[in-house]
Symmetry: C2
Subunit: 202 residues, 2 copies
């Protein structure tokens, strides 16, 4: 025999096609499936097909959805005039967990990444501009990740929307609950640079 | 919305059930499936069900097989009198790649791991003893991994088979192609301890 039996090889190949899964990890995952019960493999298989079939992109904001509009966009109680722009559906879940955002979202489905060749055309920017052009948006909040690529993405969006709608950015500084002695140099420098009048001061 | 849509949540859960896959990795893998084409999800799903349905354990050696006997055990040209005992089907593939082993295998499907509570009863040791009792085995080669647990496993098997069949172990020492300056202390100590007469010497 030259290797694993064909059905096992095919399963290993499928795992290996996933991002960040190398050949050794793919083998480990495939053997885990073999160790499981047949019903478990079936449930996993159904979940794959089902997710691909039922989960789509919201026609308004590009968030994950199970119908034309996502849960947020189809919720009449959300303020459609406030749009929080994020990179990924995972970020929507993170903001929703706070329970503090009553506006809507716009999911870019990526970020500007010159190194990986991801340019502006890969992001859902046209759809964002169309929403702004619709005239109902009162404020765009840029909620990209606080790192180099996230900042570059935010800047690019700010430039495109400049003069068309008020654009704000998330506050930047020390993380509440963190300790100054463990904060990175960059974070401390930024907290100094962006310092604000104390309550009762200024 | 409290989180991801249900079909997406279910897929994330399925990935997270796999060993070594945390919740963040599971999310990343599920989104990779969503990015792919529907046919790709279907092929992956079929591979899961197919592998679980068609891949079984060889009745003789516990290697992965697509019928009652694995490719090696059902190959009449292989010497059934020589049995190389390994921990995992992956090790069979590694030895087969050398093209130098004309005997058969016995796959333990694990190793003695006191810390993880894996005892001798979890390994296919009874089947190995049955093969030896069959009277056709002339030599058992212990091919467990060269580490603490592999050595403990080899020792346990050696004790069980002692007096019933000749038992050998794989050679241990410097890896061919490696460099002494990068070899670990343990490896160098063992290479000294197990030193052999030079060719023409001794």
């Amino acid at each position: 025999m030259a290797g694993f039996p064909d059905p096992l090889k095919r399963l290993i190949d499928e795992f290996e096609r996933l991002p960040g899964i190398g050949s050794k990890t793919a083998e480990r995952l495939a053997f885990a499936v073999l160790r499981g019960r047949p019903e478990e493999a079936k449930v996993f298989a159904d979940a794959l097909v089902d997710a691909k079939k039922k989960v789509m992109s919201c026609a308004t904001c590009s968030n994950v959805a199970t119908s034309e509009r996502c849960d947020v966009c189809s919720d009449a109680s959300r303020d459609q005039g406030l749009v929080l722009v994020v990179e990924h559906p995972r970020d929507v879940v993170a903001f929703e967990r706070t329970g503090r955002w009553r506006g809507t979202y716009h999911v870019l489905l990526g970020r500007l990444s010159p190194h990986e060749g991801a340019g502006a055309e890969a992001l859902s920017l046209k759809a964002l501009e169309a929403r702004v052009a619709g005239g109902k948006v009162r404020e765009i909040v840029l909620g990209t990740n606080p790192d180099t690529e996230g900042d570059a993405t935010a800047l690019a969006i700010e430039r495109r929307l400049s003069g068309k709608v008020p654009v704000t950015r998330l506050a930047r500084g020390l993380s509440s609950g963190g300790a100054i002695e463990y904060a990175g140099t960059e974070v401390l420098a930024e907290a100094l640079r962006l310092r604000r009048p104390a309550i009762g001061g200024g």
